[in-house]
């Protein structure tokens, strides 16, 4: 398999199959946005630092700007578009809303996916762990306190 020109790639995003034609150099983030029309995944720095592009690949948070779409066949990808169930927000989305966990909202999809991956693996995190996890992503507006509050509330809710 070798091609600088477009290749066909099958991506599974939020449980749905997308067939796209992309050049190998097309990052996963750009492919999600431009080829799949899933613009909820944001691009800030495009070199792995800001975390705005964080999505889940096979349940683990990854920087979508540092992967190529051609690498992702067969992976189960999840983006912010897959969080809500119809009109019902995911507990994390609801908690961000209720706790003012966002201002401009640019960083929010990345934080939501990061925290989703985290809480699914560790339903009972302690505060220090949460802070360390949240330091993965950058937010220029909130100062993080309300994001932390929101994730704690969502954690409690998701435990039921």
């Amino acid at each position: 398999m070798s091609n600088r020109t477009e290749v066909e790639v099958r991506l599974n995003v939020n449980g749905r199959d997308y067939r796209v034609r992309v050049e190998p150099r097309r990052t996963l983030a750009d492919t999600l946005r431009d080829n799949c029309g899933l613009t909820g995944t944001h691009l800030g720095c495009e070199h792995g630092v800001c975390g705005a592009c964080t999505i889940l690949a096979d349940g683990e948070p990854v920087r979508a700007c540092l992967m190529f779409a051609v690498q992702c066949e067969g992976m189960e990808l999840r983006t912010v578009e897959g969080l809500a169930d119809g009109d019902r927000l995911h507990p994390l989305q609801q908690a961000f809303w209720e706790n003012h966990g966002l201002q401009c909202g640019f960083c929010t999809p990345g934080f939501l996916m990061l925290a989703t991956g985290y809480l699914e693996q560790r339903p009972e995190p302690d505060e220090e762990e949460l802070k360390e996890m949240l330091s993965s992503n950058l937010c220029r507006c909130t100062g993080y306190q309300n994001i932390l509050k929101a994730v704690k509330q969502a954690a409690a809710e998701m435990r039921g």
Binding site: P24, R25, E60
Partner: protein, 296 residues
């Protein structure tokens, strides 16, 4: 140190041919065929940023991620064998009993952030050879044996020879790093790892790893390795020599720290001057010894 890229004009990689080998042999054949034109794609957490900035423009990428046979951990002959594709996050919990596993876990939490650790690989970090990379410092501390393979054969490269300068190793363009072998330190070995970075997850301005034993009340077989202060991970041989046989405790730890700070050739850059880095080495060496003696 760490990678500093700044070129706001361009954030998309140049085009390349993507090759997904189905076996190690196929990967080696691709590397032999394409030589300098090709780059191995492992976790992509250093290579892809460099490509996005077009600091790297490989014509061919050989993606080793599908080669699950390169993702293994084995203990044989008092050695931990780490397949090149083992992800950083694997080491967050000790991967083996004893000080080697503990030391790897101490360092792992400093390697970038969780999503970086999920993708980035042990071998990729060594091959990338950032002087401030935790795994490079551990490899230097423990005199790792680095096992490589190319279509024309294999080599064992000691860590000391492997790391040549910033982002430069002894690897030939057609050579794949296959495995890193670390000694399984004896259970009485004390280990410490300390680093300083301005923000959590950033590359450290300086880091220090130590390992030593205490026999009949004296420090024995001390090892001190430093990262982020020079163009490659370093040992501090004079400091090691002076603390060998000393009484463990604050005075000898301080003396070793002083010597380490003096003997190294620190490099200054926009993140910190050489003398600031020396100060960090002094403080971190002392703390690493203290940590080793208190927790292990």
């Amino acid at each position: 140190m760490g990678v500093q890229y700044y070129n706001p004009a361009c954030m998309k990689p140049a085009s390349f041919d993507y090759l997904a080998p189905r076996s190690l042999e196929e990967a080696l054949d691709y590397l032999a065929e394409h030589g300098y034109e090709a780059k191995v794609l492992a976790g992509g957490q250093s290579l892809v940023p460099a490509m996005n900035f077009r600091l790297a423009r490989p014509a061919v990428l050989v993606d080793i991620n599908p080669l699950s046979e390169l993702d293994y951990l084995e203990e044989t002959d008092h050695r931990l064998r780490i397949g090149t594709l083992v992800r950083h996050s694997t080491f967050e919990k000790p991967v083996c009993q004893g000080p080697t596993g503990r030391l790897l876990a101490m360092a792992a939490r400093h390697v970038g952030h969780w999503p970086i650790r999920v993708r980035g690989t042990f071998g990729g970090s060594l091959a990338h050879a950032d002087p401030a990379a935790e795994w490079c410092v551990i490899a230097r501390l423990l005199d790792a044996d680095l096992v490589t393979r190319s279509s024309s054969g294999g080599r064992h490269i000691p860590a000391e020879m492997f790391f040549q300068t910033v982002f430069t190793t002894a690897l030939e363009p057609d050579e794949l790093l296959l495995e890193a072998r670390l000694p399984l330190l004896s259970s009485d070995t004390k280990v410490g790892f300390q680093q300083f970075s301005r923000r959590a997850g950033d590359f450290a301005l300086a880091m220090v790893a130590v390992a030593f034993q205490i026999e009949e009340g004296k420090v024995m077989n001390p090892r001190i390795a430093l990262g982020g202060v020079s163009d490659r991970p370093l040992r501090a041989p004079e400091a090691e020599q002076m603390i060998e046989g000393a009484d463990p405790g604050d005075p000898s730890f301080r003396a070793a720290a002083e010597t380490a700070a003096r003997e190294i050739e620190a490099i200054g850059d926009i993140h910190g001057s050489a003398s600031y880095r020396r100060d960090l080495v002094r403080a971190l060496t002392r703390r690493a010894f203290e940590q080793a003696i208190t927790i292990s």
